[in-house]
Symmetry: C2
Subunit: 402 residues, 2 copies
């Protein structure tokens, strides 16, 4: 039987044994949902990747400890308040969120992950949150509407979710799903974003962590909205072992492939929903001397404010792409670089060729486009995703008041 | 007699023996000036600092060689076309600009520096430029209107210049002056900018280079408009030796001080004129473990898109300042950081204090403001300058078509 990966409907509760809900508990003035609860009926293996920011939010510190112990059964996430730069009280509040969630679900508090996103530096409205946790715990269900994906949003315009069914062989299948939030403060190294991945695959914690780290490197760490890294970023993966066993070798390879597909989908959705963004562009760098070089060049181009403005203006200003590659730190000979927009050659041996500028501009007027940059200096490649930069980004971030 | 540094009128021709002019030769469609010529009547010592971008414009490569030889007598600069990504033809064109300038001024072509700024990837209109060089060479004069400062501008809204008179003692004085251009693609490591400094001080080439490198580190390398580094950045200093001798010790110290004053003034003018910018903000980092840490933290805060948007919106969103310090790579304990806006304390021991938010917002409505960040982790400090990010930046860069 052939192995295959298929996208299915239904969001984060598609894998067996996962329940969730999202409610409005009163943190957001807007009456939008602001508390998500994700629950696994069975104790799950857990992996996590966290922000590298020195200034870490309280829930990040707490959840890092939980991930270190390797097991979890629930995740509670609030939006509207980041519980960051909140000192000792913030640490206590994060712990209280975990213990109240544990009590309400009758599980161990050591098995509860906590994440918060929103404004930095404000005290958490704990009365509302605790009340919300107890309400949510009574409402968790096989939630096909996936209100949890909605409840973790802040400046996002739409929810981000995906579910896959993976067939490994006869009677060997598993499901994997994910939700994410993020639209500003997005840059390499996990900017303001939260991701939760659920799977019913049966996999050891160390393998799960290795797979997640690898998948994040090629997805969430390759997107950029504004180069700002937040204090709250985290991606969690829970594997509750109700479906088939993933060992090393071929099954692991397919597991990583499916996990990457989930992460890349969510990452691209984050960029597409970038603050003020109207377009998504992909930067494929090939011919790099090392993977690191390929990643640096791709991220540098995708993150350049000038390239992003050029995409917004549908201007094939290829000099900005070359300049961004040039300051990326990647090793290459500027006289050998080649750049394509879709299939149209724009730069050959470091020099702009004569191309049909109106046709190129038309390609850039589409909602999605691909730049391919060949450094001609090796055989490594990487892909990064960026969004255009518009007046909308400025308006959102000049007016998102504390 | 007390040493003193005094700002004087007159621009780049204030130091003895320097002549200049700026004309329209036809590169810019707008009829604005696009060719500047700066000439020293006496062969001068020369120092230079150049872009670290791998993709270097042809004139940068040529001028690096000239600086290496240590002597120069003229600088020809065109705006409107960057002569970057122009291949072998670009290198020939830059050399032709040097040799025609040399012929027209009857000096050695090895003593001519060349710089170009403007659009990348287009061939240079050499007929117009050569014609312009010959016209300009007949027009160089003690130009108090400083049309050279005007002729090097691209998207800049105003010219940037300063002149100082320095008294070292009785009968020991020198003058130093500078012009610069730059308003976009500005980031640490010398983004799209050109700077020319003239002085009649008598100083050895090695000392001049050391002084310039030091001054650039604390000025042009500490400003940021959009984190994009260009292919064309360079700062030149010419010292023609007509005034007093600078040796080591105290005279050198004062020379560096004056040179820094010139560079800091021009650097701040560039930020103030940042594309779309309405405000200038200064970030003073102190208490850092190393100068490198202080610089990283200051530049990270000044360059954060979210901080820049907060400045635009006059929003004391101090969490963004903390987050930017946190991802700067600087070593500090997040529980010890202190932040002030002007004299108002906003963050103490890592926690936002209760402050008068409307008063803080009023401070941020001014055209200039100072953030002081104490990392409380050492005794090193650094200052960086940034501008607010407005819709104007987007409009300019989405519409500056190739």
């Amino acid at each position: 039987m052939k192995q295959k990966i298929k996208v299915v409907e239904g969001g984060i509760c598609v894998p067996e044994g996962f329940l969730s809900t999202g409610i409005h508990c009163g943190i957001k003035k807007s009456k939008k949902k602001d508390l998500a609860l994700i629950y696994s009926m069975y104790l799950a293996k857990v992996a996590g990747v966290f922000t590298k920011n020195k200034v870490k939010a309280a829930p990040v510190i707490l959840s890092q400890r939980t991930v270190k112990r390797g097991k979890a059964q629930a995740i509670v996430i609030n939006s509207g308040n980041a519980n960051a730069c909140t000192g000792k009280k913030g640490v206590e509040d994060a712990a209280l969120m975990a213990s109240e969630t544990a009590k309400s679900l009758r599980i161990e508090k050591e098995h509860v992950l906590v994440a918060s996103t929103g404004i930095i530096g404000l005290p958490m409205p704990m009365n509302k949150i605790i009340h919300g946790i107890w309400s949510a715990s009574r409402m968790v269900k096989k939630d096909t509407a996936c209100s949890a994906a909605e409840a973790i949003l802040t400046t996002d315009l739409r929810k981000k979710e995906i579910a896959l069914e993976v067939v490994l062989g006869k009677n060997a299948r598993f499901k994997i799903a994910g939700i994410a939030k993020g639209s500003g403060m997005i840059c390499p190294n996990m900017a303001t974003m939260i991701g939760v991945i659920t799977t019913d695959a049966d996999i050891d914690q160390k393998l799960l962590q290795a797979a997640l780290s690898e998948a994040v490197e090629d997805s969430f760490n390759m997107i950029t909205v504004d180069n700002d890294m937040s204090t709250n970023d985290c991606v969690f993966a829970l594997a509750n072992g109700r479906a088939c066993r993933i060992t090393g070798g071929q099954t692991y390879k397919i597991f990583v492939e499916a996990l990457k597909q989930v992460c890349v989908h969510l990452a691209k959705e984050i960029v597409r929903d970038g603050e003020g963004a109207k377009k998504l562009f992909e930067v494929n760098v090939k011919g790099a001397k090392s993977v690191q070089d390929a990643r640096s060049a791709a991220k540098s181009i995708a993150g350049s404010s000038l390239v992003k403005c050029a995409v917004y203006g549908a201007d094939p200003n290829i000099g900005r792409v070359l300049a961004a590659a040039g300051y990326s730190g990647a090793d290459f000979d500027p006289g050998k670089i080649e750049v394509k927009l879709e299939k149209m050659l724009l730069v050959k041996k470091g020099l702009p060729v004569k191309f049909d500028a109106p046709a190129a501009s038309n390609l850039m007027k589409k909602e999605q486009m691909v730049f391919t940059v060949n450094l001609n200096n090796g055989k490594h490649c990487a892909t990064a995703w960026g969004c255009d930069m518009t007046e909308g980004y400025i308006v959102i971030n000049a007016k998102y008041h504390t």
